[in-house]
Symmetry: C2
Subunit: 311 residues, 2 copies
């Protein structure tokens, strides 16, 4: 069973009567005048990261950041979180304090608070954060409309290339930093929420996350590859390591930019907000259709992105 | 640093502006007319349980139950939860489905819903559940009053003896079941909330959890051991294995009964609710005092209970 089918299985087996449960970046429950968003992301040693090339501070900050990204992708603002921490005794008490110092730094940096949790020794470092947020108007994956423009808020692929280099033992450089240091779009998310129809954060790869929007919305898409931003650094690194740039850009994963769909007239209004984004395609009415053109030439990527069940 | 000091360190470093954060069985945030309670408990393979003597169904149900117990201890009703699951690939897809079947069974049994989460492969089975609940009037640890009676809702020590037997390779019998099958006090918790001053669930041992109440409230306690319920099964098992019964009863852990303190006049009213509980002592004004009498004779247990940092 792949991840998409597994999520469908869970949605069917676990109906949610309080609001929107399984299947988006966060659950949504109406509370008072606005909506409470709750998301949960795991970071497990030797699955999501290795302490060979991550410091504890980097791991702690990333564990908060990936959850902030989920709340931002729903158009919300993160407020506080709960930490489930399995911490190897071998790392020692000082390392444990380092971890909490980093967590405190993250709290200050992103204006969120630690509200509780549970702590245990464990064979590997295991971090489970549940983030609570709020939104006036949550944005879902399932509301993309035919004719919508498709936008992204930043570059994709650099994180994946950075990870590849880290795994090769190259531990310094800007793309490695891109992989290790997640910059969640906490400012843009709530602004975009006032204009867009659908939104998701690109955590598993541009195409796989776009497909999640298409599937949820019953729509298709046309992507103009040449509109996707690719930095000089990225081009040079790909060329140096003889890599086809298309694959990391389209299927890389862990980019944590926001992907959104927006009506053309709303996109005109959005320009007045002066936030950076790139229009990379458009939503088509045909369910499941996905056409990728690079300067008019059809391209077909080898993989769609990271599937938690297959990798 | 022991657990109590670590919690103090965290409370100081992570102030919570939305309500009551770190330091009780759950956080408390006022939302609308009542209070939202959130708790998070980890279950980690080979730390909290072993698959040598737990079935996946037992682990899944326990992972829900321990969180229900925390919400009940705050006088609340659990509503829905988020699951962070690290699942070993080696166990196979069928085992994974078994796990979710058990989770569904737990949802039906306890009237809670799965609202979301995250899933990953992992070297060991990791379960992190964040439970959301509600209370009209949350009950804290810090409100015990001098002169309060101390009550518990059930027996203690059987779970610890059960675990000891399981570790010895004895895998059948009622005390083993007591350890593996947590029966959270979801009915009694909200009823008690109408009468008691302070409450906690006994997860780490009667004395250690009582001390948490005493420390938080700045009070002392006198315990009358002979009032603590001990079953015939427990007495016979202790005698068979030449164990001093006092230790598991006072310091056993994983009992998941509720311990509460209640004004004597309120206790009279509580009797009309016809729920089972036992008055085992009283709160004294002297901070930190803890006197345990067995039919008038002073006893001093060797340990207080399970400390997550020392064990």
């Amino acid at each position: 069973m792949d991840e998409a089918r597994f999520v469908e299985f869970l949605k069917e087996r676990f109906p949610f009567s309080h609001g929107i449960g399984i299947g988006d970046d966060a659950s949504v429950v109406k509370i008072g005048d606005d909506y409470q968003l709750i998301t949960k992301d795991l970071l497990i040693e030797n699955v999501h990261f290795s302490l060979d090339y991550y410091t504890l501070e980097e791991v702690a900050l990333k564990s908060i950041a990936v959850n902030l990204s989920d709340i931002a992708a729903m158009g919300g603002k993160s407020q506080y979180f709960y930490l489930g921490l399995g911490f190897p005794k071998l790392l020692g008490e000082e390392a444990n304090i380092d971890f909490f110092n980093a967590l405190e730094k993250g709290c200050r940096q992103w204006q969120v608070e630690l509200a509780g949790g549970d702590f245990s020794s464990a064979a590997h470092l295991y971090i489970s954060i549940t983030m609570i947020g709020r939104a006036k108007k949550p944005i879902y994956r399932h509301n993309a409309q035919a004719g919508d423009l498709i936008g992204i808020t930043g570059v994709t692929g650099e994180s994946a290339i950075g990870l590849m280099l880290l795994k090769k033992g190259i531990h310094a450089g800007p793309l490695m930093e891109k992989h290790k240091t997640v910059v969640p779009e906490i400012i843009k998310g709530p602004i975009l929420a006032n204009y867009v129809n659908a939104m998701i954060d690109v955590s598993d790869g541009l195409l796989i996350d776009l497909k999640r929007v298409l599937t949820a919305s019953g729509k298709g898409a046309k992507i103009f590859y040449e509109n996707i931003p690719v930095t000089k650094e990225m081009q040079e690194t790909c060329s140096l390591h003889q890599l086809d740039e298309h694959e990391p850009v389209l299927a890389g994963g862990e980019d944590y930019v926001l992907l959104f769909t927006i009506a053309p007239e709303k996109e005109k209004e959005l320009r007045k907000e002066h936030i950076d984004y790139y229009i990379i395609g458009e939503i088509t009415p045909q369910p499941g259709e996905l056409i990728i053109l690079d300067k008019g030439k059809l391209i077909q990527p080898r993989t769609n992105g990271y599937d938690h069940f297959r990798s």
